[in-house]
């Protein structure tokens, strides 16, 4: 059975390592914060100027001067630091962030990603996504395997305007964990109960399948 959003987040949390500085995008990526393994030091960066995002505030304690990049009220933790937007992106562009997790409309087998614009329909802007994908050492996309109409989101070529090229390293979808290799998509893990055949059928590009593909564990 395909994963739900929280399970996708849970699976991505397994990619975290002790000492990582991580930027989590809006949507599913934000949920990853809930599954940081106990005792593991992971610092969350918010590109509007905070290292060390804490949990959402208690009711009545929201502070208009303390928001995340999704404009939600947050808190900060001991050891946090605040800074301006230019230093924040110096951090990102300079490769000081270990991992970026973000959503996508489409991802290609060579690591291109489209995530910010649907011509004639959605014109919200790219925000920090282009900076993040161009510079983070490690980029994981959190997404459903197909769109609302059942069309593959993993493809040979993006149809929508690009956010970045040759940048996505891994995809964690509701159906599979897929690595983006020099030779294309490589299937690493299946969602529990989902077959390799089902994943193949839902993917719009070739899949490298090397031996037995294990089920994800949680």
């Amino acid at each position: 059975m395909a994963l739900d959003k929280t399970q996708i987040a849970q699976r991505i949390a397994q990619e975290l390592q002790d000492g990582y500085y991580v930027n989590l995008g809006i949507g599913i990526p934000t949920l990853v914060a809930n599954y940081i393994p106990e005792g593991m030091d992971v610092v969350l960066q918010s590109e509007n100027g905070l290292l060390g995002i804490g949990p959402f505030p208690e009711k009545g304690k929201a502070d208009a001067d303390l928001i995340n990049a999704g404009k939600q009220t947050v808190t900060y933790l001991p050891g946090s630091a605040f800074f301006d937007s230019s230093l924040s992106f110096a951090m990102i562009r300079g490769g000081h962030i270990d991992l970026t997790v973000l959503g996508a409309f489409e991802v290609t087998e060579n690591g291109d990603i489209s995530s910010w614009k649907i011509p004639g329909k959605m014109v919200k802007g790219m925000g920090g996504a282009m900076d993040l994908v161009a510079a983070a050492k490690n980029i994981i996309v959190a997404t459903t395997h197909t769109d609302r109409n059942g069309n593959p989101k993993l493809k040979t070529k993006c149809d929508l305007p690009l956010t970045g090229v040759n940048c996505v390293k891994k995809i964690v979808s509701d159906m599979a964990v897929i690595e983006v290799t020099d030779k294309g998509f490589k299937l690493l893990e299946r969602a529990p109960g989902v077959s390799v055949e089902e994943i193949k059928n839902a993917t719009g590009a070739a899949l490298i399948i090397d031996g037995e593909i294990p089920e994800m564990t949680f």
């Binding site: 959402f56 939600q72 605040f82 937007s85 992106f89 900076d131 161009a134």
Partner: protein
């Protein structure tokens, strides 16, 4: 050095139609509320506004948009404003979208006398169209140019009468780099203090960058998405 003006109306009195403004803030956090209200009242128009976001329909830059005072926006994310979307799609409003980090750096560069610089962000996307590409460290980069403004209008937490500023939490965001990049920088602050009251080791933006300062009034500090546990 006394840079104090009475209020927002006095601070923005000489802004002319057609000028370029930078306006600090991220979402509705750290926006110069008093000056925005004063500009709505002044009915200054044909403005080019450089601001990461465009406010919401009835607050922040949305107030200037509603009155058609803005000709062009240079932003990175404008998703929370329906009137903005309508004006953009109808062609009433010119919009230049920048990657957020590129926008922040173009502004800092404008203040720092660096007219152009290379960044990786946007390579291979529509942001790179017409821009010079050069490879560094095995990766393609695009050449981006600095931004400056006739007026930078920013919001700080504490400021002294010499213009030294301290920002609070994530309300800093674009205010600090924009403060460097205005020919005239106007700062409105929660708390205006005497010269000498701020610790010189804790100044985020030294007074040399700030030409006018005043203590704001009646801050609404609206929260866009109040999220609690």
């Amino acid at each position: 050095m006394n840079k104090v003006v009475k209020n927002a109306a006095e601070a923005i009195a000489d802004i002319q139609n057609g000028q370029t403004l930078m306006l600090g803030g991220f979402g509705l956090s750290g926006i110069p509320e008093n000056c925005i209200t004063a500009m709505v009242e002044k009915e200054v128009t044909d403005l080019t506004c450089i601001s990461n976001n465009a406010g919401v329909d009835d607050f922040g830059l949305g107030l200037l948009l509603k009155k058609h005072q803005i000709k062009k926006m240079i932003s990175s994310y404008v998703g929370e404003n329906k009137e903005f979307e309508r004006q953009m799609l109808s062609g009433e409003l010119e919009v230049e979208l920048n990657p957020q980090g590129t926008l922040a750096e173009r502004i800092r560069a404008g203040g720092a006398g660096i007219p152009a610089f290379f960044v990786p962000a946007g390579y291979g996307t529509e942001v790179a169209e017409g821009k010079e590409v050069r490879e560094y460290n095995g990766k393609p980069h695009i050449l981006e140019e600095a931004l400056v403004a006739d007026f930078s209008i920013i919001k700080a937490w504490k400021g002294d009468k010499a213009g030294n500023l301290i920002f609070r939490h994530t309300a800093n965001n674009f205010n600090q780099p924009m403060g460097m990049a205005g020919k005239i920088t106007i700062a409105e602050v929660d708390e205006l203090v005497e010269v000498g009251e701020l610790d010189p080791n804790q100044i985020h933006l030294p007074g040399v960058f700030v030409q006018r300062i005043f203590q704001g009034v009646d801050y609404e500090k609206r929260i866009e998405f109040e999220t609690t546990r």
